[in-house]
Amino acid sequence: MSTNWSLAKRMEKVIDLLSPLVLPLVIIAIWGAATKFGNIEKVILPEPLQVVETFVSLVRSGALLDHLLASFVRIMKGFALGTLAGVSVGIISGFSRRVGRLLNPTIAFIRTIPIYAWIPMLILWFGIGESSKVIAITMGVFFPVHLSTEEGIRNIDVKYIEVAKILRLGRLFVLRKAVVPAALPFIITGIRLGLARAWMVVVVAELIAATSGLGYLISDGRQLFQPDVMVVGMMTIGIAGVAMDALIGRIERRALKWRVRFEGYREASL
C-alpha cells in the first residue's frame, strides 16, 4: 500500500514538473504543422527546425551571446538604478504624507506617458549611445517599482502602527521593523514588473537606434529577410526574462518565509 502511495506521489511530482512544458510543446507542434502542411512562405514564418539551426550557428559564432550581453548590461544598469530610485522614493513618499503630496501628482502625470514616447527625446538629449538607453530603462523600471512600493507602505495595517505607538517605537525603527517588511511583498511584485518593463524598453530602444543587442538583432533580421534570426532573438529575450524572473522569485520566497501563501488549489476543477 505504502509503495503504491509513494508512487502516486512521485507521479504527481513528475506531472507538476512537466506541466509547464505542455503549452510550449503544443504551440511548437501547431507551428511545425502550419509550416509543413500550411501554405506559408518561409520568409513569413520559418520552420521550427530552421530556427534551431540558426540558433546553433548564432551561438557558435558568438554573435548571440554578444547581443544578449549587450542588452543584459543595459538592463542591469537601468534596472539597478530604477529599482534603487523607485524603492527609495516610494518609501519616502509613502511614509511621509507631505512628501507624497509634493511628488505624487507629478509622478502620476509622467507615469501615464509611455516610456517609448520618451526615447526620441532622450536620444535628442543624450545621443544614440548607451546613456539614452540606460536612462530610458531606468525610467521604465522606476514607475512600477515606485507605485507598488508606495502602495505597499500605505497598505500596512494601522493595527501595527498602534502597537508601535503603544511601545513608543521611533519612526525610523518602525519603518525598518514594521513598514518596510509589511510592504515587501508589494515591493518585490513591483520589482518583477519593473524587470519585465526593462526588457520591453531595452528592445524598443535597440530597435530605434543601436548596433548591438537583441533588439538590434531582431531589427537586423527583418532588414535582411531572415525571420529565423528574428524568432531566435525573440525567444532569447523570453528565456532570459523568465530566468531573471525566476531568480527574483527565489529571493522573494526566501525573504517572505514568514508568510503563509496561497499556492492555488491542486485540482483543476472549480
Binding site: K159, V163, I166, L167, F173, P181, L184, W258
Partner: protein, 259 residues
C-alpha cells in the same frame, strides 16, 4: 484620592459620523487603585473599548481628565502596556524578535535574557524562533502579553484579549492572567463582555451602559482567591451581575436534573 493610581473625571468623548455627532462616552468617572484588578464590562458598542483606548493614549480628542499618578495622559507611554483583542504580533518577526521589539532603544546587554525570562513567564520557552502563523491563538496572545509586560508597565490594559479564543483556552488563560497579576503586582484594567471572566479576575467590576456610554455601577467582588467558578458565592454574584443586563437566570438556583 491620592491612593488611586488612575483617576478619570467627567470624561466625555464624541466623534463625527456620517449623520452627525455621536457621543461615545459621557460623564465617565472612575478611580483605579494601585495594584487593583478592575474589569469594565458592557455590551458591544457601549464605549468600553473607546475608554481603554483613551487610557492607553491612542486618542487625545476628549474632554475631562484622565490622570495617571496625578499626571494627565497626553499619549501612549511605557507606564501603560496594552494587549489587544487580536495578538497584533508582527508576522514577519519571530516570537523572540516580537518581544524584543518592545525593548527598542534600550541597549541592554541582557536583552536576550530578558526576553527569555518573559517567555518563561507566559510558559512559552522553546518557541523563540517560531513565527506567529505557527502559533495557536492562545499562544500568540501569551506572546502579546509578554511583549506588553517586558517594559514593566505600571498599568496593563487588556482590551478583550481573550475574546477571540475558544472557551477552554479562554478559561486556561484566565487562570494564567490571575496568577500573572498576583506574581507581578501590576494594576490591570480589563475590558470584556464576559461576566464570568470579570468575576474570576477582578477586585471590582465597572458596568457600562450604552448610548451614551457611561459607567452605571461599580461593584465589589469580595471573593477569595483562587476563585472557583462553581462556588455558591461566585454563582450568586454572577446572577447579580446578569440582572444588571436584564438576563434572568432559571427560576431556582438549584438545577433540576432529568432522570
Amino acid at each position: 484620592m491620592s491612593r488611586s493610581k488612575l483617576q478619570i473625571r467627567n470624561l466625555h468623548k464624541s466623534y463625527a459620523s456620517g449623520t452627525g455627532e455621536v457621543v461615545a462616552l459621557k460623564e465617565v468617572n472612575l478611580d483605579v487603585k494601585r495594584g487593583e484588578f478592575l474589569s469594565i464590562i458592557g455590551t458591544s458598542g457601549c464605549g468600553k473599548t473607546t475608554l481603554i483606548r483613551l487610557i492607553a493614549g491612542l486618542s487625545n480628542h476628549y474632554q475631562g481628565s484622565i490622570r495617571l499618578n496625578g499626571r494627565s495622559i497626553v499619549g501612549p507611554d511605557l507606564d501603560r502596556g496594552m494587549v489587544f483583542q487580536e495578538h497584533r504580533l508582527f508576522p514577519w518577526l519571530t516570537v523572540e524578535e516580537n518581544i524584543a521589539l518592545a525593548l527598542n532603544g534600550k541597549r541592554s546587554a541582557d536583552k536576550g535574557a530578558l526576553v527569555r525570562e518573559h517567555l518563561d513567564l507566559v510558559g512559552l520557552l522553546g518557541f523563540e524562533k517560531a513565527y506567529p502563523h505557527q502559533l495557536s491563538g492562545g499562544m500568540a496572545q501569551r506572546v502579546a502579553i509578554a511583549r506588553a509586560l517586558i517594559n514593566r508597565p505600571e498599568v496593563l490594559l487588556l482590551d478583550e484579549p481573550l475574546g477571540a479564543l475558544d472557551a477552554l483556552t479562554r478559561m486556561n488563560m484566565q487562570q494564567e492572567l490571575a496568577s500573572l497579576w498576583e506574581k507581578e503586582a501590576i494594576t490591570m484594567i480589563l475590558v470584556t463582555h464576559d461576566i464570568e471572566e470579570a468575576l474570576f479576575l477582578s477586585d471590582r467590576i465597572a458596568i457600562m451602559s450604552s448610548r451614551p456610554g457611561t459607567i452605571r455601577k461599580v461593584i465589589d467582588v469580595p471573593l477569595l482567591r483562587p476563585r472557583h467558578r462553581a462556588s455558591h458565592n461566585f454563582v450568586t454574584l454572577k446572577e447579580e451581575v446578569m440582572k444588571e443586563f436584564h438576563i434572568e437566570a432559571a427560576e431556582t438556583p438549584q438545577d433540576s436534573y432529568e432522570i
